[in-house]
């Protein structure tokens, strides 16, 4: 490889965006190239965020619908028939519609909102801004990444409207149910669309992930050593590594599933009878799919939670005006989680007939994750300990994150034990566990990020009062919704059941289920309030007058309020210190761009 040539082209890449910026006064970007097929990472971040918000509303609305069925199994709601048609004849959701809603709720929230909407938004926004780069390593691939996500969204959206309805075998899409179109109405074209959409989604994630990694490894500004990067960047790095290594394996599993559906192969199928008729498929193993799925599926939960962890670390340090406690331990624990994420997938499969001897290893490795998680929790609490905390909505959501991460994480220790899991598997206890630890927590991290970096994105602030209402109702509501589910699960109430009122042992939860459903509706309404606040503030929010409203040290606040493509109008600033010099030497904060003084020691 000739170094001369590569150096030259490196400069081309680095300066391409720069030149563009200098000429900005001469030619305005057209609407299409500025807002639609934009190559500016900041615009792509906004595209991911707004698409994610649209999906979040749909996904959350689905949960309201199926909670109505769970809370009020005997009631009828005539308005349901007018929006769902024959899926809710007489105002009561049909069993098929219920399974479709549950499946789509999971798919949408896990993949489209908390993967694309969360890391897609903030990796895109923050990586170039916080490491000091003009744009991503390949802005074109970055643009493609969003448009593949958009295509995936279109296909998934279309699947909601086909006559036989969307995929409805659960968001994990286990065969044989998902592999055989005759098995159920929700296994027909809905599953094909689901698989197509997810394949496009995987492509989008890979294109994005490649870019995040090569940008933050190769295009850091002068002086920005790896150990000077903010923890957000470290968490996006590990998230991208997890995605790049695990999504392709999921794609392998999907390809085999598609072959089983359409080419008559028997990778996952064996000895199946449908309506009394034996199928020809011989020699397949349904468990094989679960291995391939959960090899992605488990890293996926860290893909969801790591970006939230990174943003919470940053927001907590900024809002408590203290350096993050245990910076290196934070990186080390992210790394440990990243490694362990690949070694624990079979804890989702304890009841599939897994060899108990093998299970013991997976129990051990699963429980080991508690160690880095506990280190992180300890460091967050120590960071805010005796801090001079500004209780902005962002910092409240960060503190809320720490709370839900603890309470959801503790129940993970229960479920990680294979013997307890036999009782709790596929019960509401599991629902409670993962909704608190990865659903609510990841959302809290995302909200913290949105409230904190909204001024960077739009040059305006979101309304604080609505922010506080949003936080307290969501925080209290989340616990009211999910805490009681632990008790239902311990009593054995299964998840995914259409109607449990037929069992005497679960009938006792009738009132509790009604209560949960009412809280769900309230919390959903408050999320709509947040969406209103978001869009209203884009146009009418209080204007940002100070380039650095939170007095933060990191590089993104050294850019102009409305930064053009290329981020910094002049030279990219040089970095001299780590990102957490708060309350140092009698000063509130010292930006990363300030050289270390003669009488000062570096961190």
């Amino acid at each position: 490889m000739s170094n001369e040539a590569t150096l030259h082209s490196q400069q081309e890449v680095m300066h391409g965006a720069h030149d563009h910026h200098d000429h900005e006064h001469h030619h305005e970007d057209s609407f299409i190239s500025k807002y639609v097929f934009s190559m500016d990472h900041k615009m792509i971040a906004k595209q991911f965020l707004i698409t994610g918000i649209v999906w979040a509303i749909i996904g959350a609305f689905f949960s309201v619908l199926f909670r109505l069925q769970l809370g009020f199994p005997d009631a009828t709601f005539p308005w349901l028939e007018s929006i769902l048609g024959h899926w809710a004849k007489g105002g009561r959701i049909s069993a098929e519609a219920y399974y479709a809603l549950v499946t789509m709720h999971g798919t949408i929230l896990v993949f489209f909102v908390l993967t694309a909407g969360l890391s897609g938004t903030f990796s895109n926004l923050l990586i170039p801004l916080q490491v000091g780069a003009r744009d991503m390593a390949s802005p074109f691939m970055n643009c493609l990444s969003y448009w593949f996500f958009f295509l995936a969204s279109l296909v998934m959206m279309a699947s909601l409207f086909v006559q036989t309805g969307p995929a409805s075998g659960g968001w994990t899409m286990y065969p044989p149910l998902s592999a055989l179109g005759d098995a159920s109405i929700g296994s027909k074209i809905g599953v094909d669309l689901w698989l197509t959409s997810m394949a496009l989604f995987v492509v989008s994630q890979l294109l994005g992930g490649l870019n995040y990694i090569s940008t933050l490894l190769n295009m850091r500004t002068k002086g920005m050593a790896m150990t000077k990067m903010p923890l957000t960047i470290w968490s996006f790095f590990f998230t991208a590594v997890l995605g790049v290594l695990s999504f392709p394996v999921l794609l392998s599993g999907f390809i085999l599933l598609l072959m089983d559906r359409h080419a008559g192969t028997s990778f996952y199928l064996s000895d199946i009878f449908i309506a009394g008729k034996a199928l020809a498929n011989e020699g397949g193993s349904a468990i094989l799919y679960q291995h391939l799925f959960w090899f992605l599926g488990h890293p996926e939960v860290y893909i969801i939670i790591l970006p939230a962890m990174g943003m919470v670390s940053e927001v907590l340090a900024v809002s408590s005006r203290k350096p993050i406690f245990g910076y290196l331990a934070m990186i080390g624990s992210l790394f440990a989680i990243c490694i362990l994420a690949f070694l624990v997938w079979a804890h989702h499969m304890f009841v599939t007939g897994l060899n108990p001897f093998l299970g013991a290893f997976f129990v051990l490795l699963t429980l080991l994750i508690a160690v880095p998680s506990a280190i992180k929790v300890f460091n967050w609490i120590t960071t805010i300990w005796k801090g001079n905390i500004n209780f902005t909505p962002a910092s409240l959501f960060s503190i809320g994150f720490v709370s839900t991460f603890i309470s959801g994480g503790l129940t993970g220790i229960w479920l990680g034990n294979s013997s307890i899991d036999i009782h709790l598997h596929d019960t509401m206890f599991v629902i409670a566990h993962f909704h608190i630890v990865m659903g609510v927590s990841a959302f809290f991290g995302m909200f913290a990020g949105i409230y904190h970096w909204f001024p960077k994105m739009y040059g305006r602030f979101m309304n604080n009062t609505i922010g506080y209402i949003h936080f307290w109702v969501t925080m209290i509501g989340a616990y009211l919704i999910f805490w009681p589910m632990h008790y239902e699960g311990m009593a054995g109430m299964p998840r995914r059941y259409y109607d449990v009122s037929g069992w005497a042992s679960f009938k006792q939860f009738g009132g509790l289920n009604e209560f949960i459903t009412i809280v769900v509706i309230l919390v959903f309404a408050v999320q709509l309030l947040f969406v209103f606040n978001f869009f209203y503030s884009i146009f009418k929010g209080r204007k940002m007058t100070n380039q650095n409203p939170w007095n933060a040290t990191t590089l993104e606040w050294t850019t102009p309020i409305h930064a053009g493509h290329g981020n910094w109008p002049g030279e990219i600033p040089e970095v001299y210190r780590w990102a957490y010099d708060y309350s140092k030497d009698g000063r509130d904060f010292i930006p990363q761009t300030e050289p270390i003084g003669p009488n000062e020691s570096a961190h």
Binding site: L210, N218, V249, L251, S252, H291
Partner: protein
Amino acid sequence: MDTMTLEQRKKIHPHKYSLWIAMGSITMMFIGFTSAYIVKRSQANWLAFELPHIFWISTAVILTSSLTIHLALKQFKERNMQRYKQLITLTAVLGVVFAACQWIGFSQLKSAGLPLNGPVSASFIYVIVGVHMLHVLGGVVALLVMFGRAYRTRVRTYSPVPIEVAATYWHFVDVLWIYLLIFLSIAR
């Protein structure tokens, strides 16, 4: 020393870096397939059979194409554009020949009573070899783009990065095939 390595690393073009990560990603996909293969093989009713002999011819073809793209890169750097165009065309043709050989291999399997919807061990060959073939054809498309660029008269490119990226990818699918061939020959 530390700063030395830092400087050194910055010399890698970001696109090349992305390619290396992408290759890791593609490798993971095939690790997924081959692990599924191993899991399945250890279970009952596994049917072992000979691979089609044409796979050895296709191996020779793809090895030759690796050589031609290497020479093409060399010619590009020496600005022998005529030779460069000939060599990337040859490489692309060899890529298509490779895909055709694999396709003939499929029909040989089928006529030996091992169709796609037959025993699982045969289905795996179709899927693994087929997905690899798609990756080779993806490389052919990249070469066609390269070819189009070489014929542009208005804009001339002097940067060897695109052809370097294409060459690295081409060697990668070559090595990947050799790995798959060895794997499928041994783990029968």
